[in-house]
Amino acid sequence: MSTHGWAQAIPPESIALSTYDQGAPTIAIPFFREGTLFLSHVKKPMEGATTTTEVSRRIIADNVYRLADVNRQTGEYLYQTIEGTNRESVANVTTWLGDASGKVTRVYTGGGYVKLSPGGSYITATDENGMLRIIDLKGEERAVLGKATYAIFSPDGTRLAFLNAIPYSIGDAGGISIIAIASGKTLMTYKPDGAEYIPLAFSEDGNVLYFAAINTAALQNSDPSNQNRVDLYSLLVSEGAVPQLVTTGIQKLPYMDYTRVEYLSGSRLLALSAEDTTWVVNTQTGSVQTFPKVIDVLRVGTGNTLLARSSDESVSSKIWSVLTAR
């Protein structure tokens, strides 16, 4: 078992109750549209309700490049701004941390794909040279994990999964690694043969990793009209474990990459959003529900009630709705 480059010990985080469980009548939800970051306060829908109300909405920042991550536990979020005309450089990308009150602080400049830890103490970022780092909120480096990207935290903040990838390199990716954050110890590495793959999310208990994959043979000589060729797999976090296909039969997904991925706590539902559509995958049954014109969802209450954000600009005053997933 290898360990990675830990500059300082990374103590365990305390994980707060979710903002939904804290009893407030509204939920603060950041969202991004056309370069502007907004913060909505949305009334919690009653169980079984089909509608909700947006109580308030304010602009947090303009000239935003991306809303990078939202921590549903703490209500905090990461967004990024970018300077210059480069379209492939992270050197001039700055990451900012915002909270549910709208307060923002600068965290780090020079990192690409960023994620906020569940306790809100650390971020992960991939730098200009493709090196994945764990950084605290003062911008101090805590660990360097090598050429990697697409890091995701387990919900309890103890594990990190990432894709060992050399940027702009096809055919020599090093697989998905899962490490214990406190020690840097590698818990497992998985590398499927002849496939492209991206880690997506951990299960609620952190013992299962979900990832998207496509057989590279399916990329070649393929019928371009058949867009849905991506499968979702589950992988037990245990060295030597064999992935299980979640999306069986014809239930496939169109893309590998998603702008928002949420494992909906308590529901075994995985919500994947890209462009102007959200797909909700039932990780037990493998069924895939498609929600057109929905670009963000979060689970509210104890059932499968989802708060959904519409991409439809014509109904901008009513962008939040309530859906039920199977």
Partner: protein, 220 residues
């Protein structure tokens, strides 16, 4: 054309058959002098060549470290053409067409892309597309404002906005395969362009400078 003739004379002088030595490329877009980031040459009105490759010009917004291609600021939805004849080598058409962000590993960062292998073993790569039009077989090169369509520009993979990443890489797409600068000339480490023909045009990013820019003529 003059540049290509000079390259041919140079190859002839050193005993290399131009056709076998190097496949030369056309602009993979209709002729518009788009902003270019990374790997380009520019000349001030004084005629002094300036190179944007992190050697001549220090860190700034005109190029970036570790970048292996030339980025044309083509808007989302711009038709992309084959730069030279060859055979489809690899494609990817499963990333979100406008879902790019920096660090997105889809298509190993290329997003939706087409790679074409040429007679000189060089691979031309057209990356961050919104859609791919060719998946296999031989590819022709057609001169002029149109051409042989390989896809449409987009913002997929590791990209912060719509553009076309064009790259020439030897042999394959692995991390160890070397990328080549298509811009030759006095500011380059190589004496000839991989562009079949080019002209000096006004640089949109650097007022008062002209940039070395390819045209849409295919190598015969």
């Amino acid at each position: 054309m003059l540049h290509a003739i000079c390259a041919a004379i140079l190859f002839a002088l050193i005993g290399i058959d131009t056709a076998q030595a190097a496949t030369l490329h056309r602009l993979p877009l209709a002729y518009v002098p788009y902003n270019i980031n990374a790997w380009k040459d520019a000349s001030a009105t004084t005629g002094v060549d300036v190179r944007y490759d992190n050697i001549t010009i220090p860190s700034g917004s005109f190029y970036y470290d570790g970048h292996r291609g030339t980025d044309f600021a083509a808007p989302y939805g711009t038709t992309v053409y084959a730069s030279a004849r060859g055979t489809v080598y690899s494609t990817n058409n499963v990333c979100a067409p406008n879902g790019g962000y920096l660090g997105n590993p889809c298509g190993s960062g290329f997003g939706r892309f087409v790679a074409i292998k040429h007679a000189d073993n060089m691979v031309s790569i057209y990356a961050h597309l919104s859609s791919v039009s060719v998946f296999s077989g031989s590819i022709t090169c057609i001169s002029g404002p149109g051409g042989k369509t390989v896809g449409v520009s987009g913002n997929s993979g590791s990209s912060s906005g719509a553009h076309l990443h064009f790259e020439l890489r030897i042999n394959d797409l692995s991390g160890t395969s070397m990328s080549y600068d298509p811009f030759g000339g006095t500011a380059s480490t190589q004496t000839w362009d991989y562009w079949y023909d080019w002209a000096w045009v006004s640089d949109p990013l650097r007022p008062g400078f002209n940039m070395h820019y390819p045209v849409t003529t295919c190598q015969p």
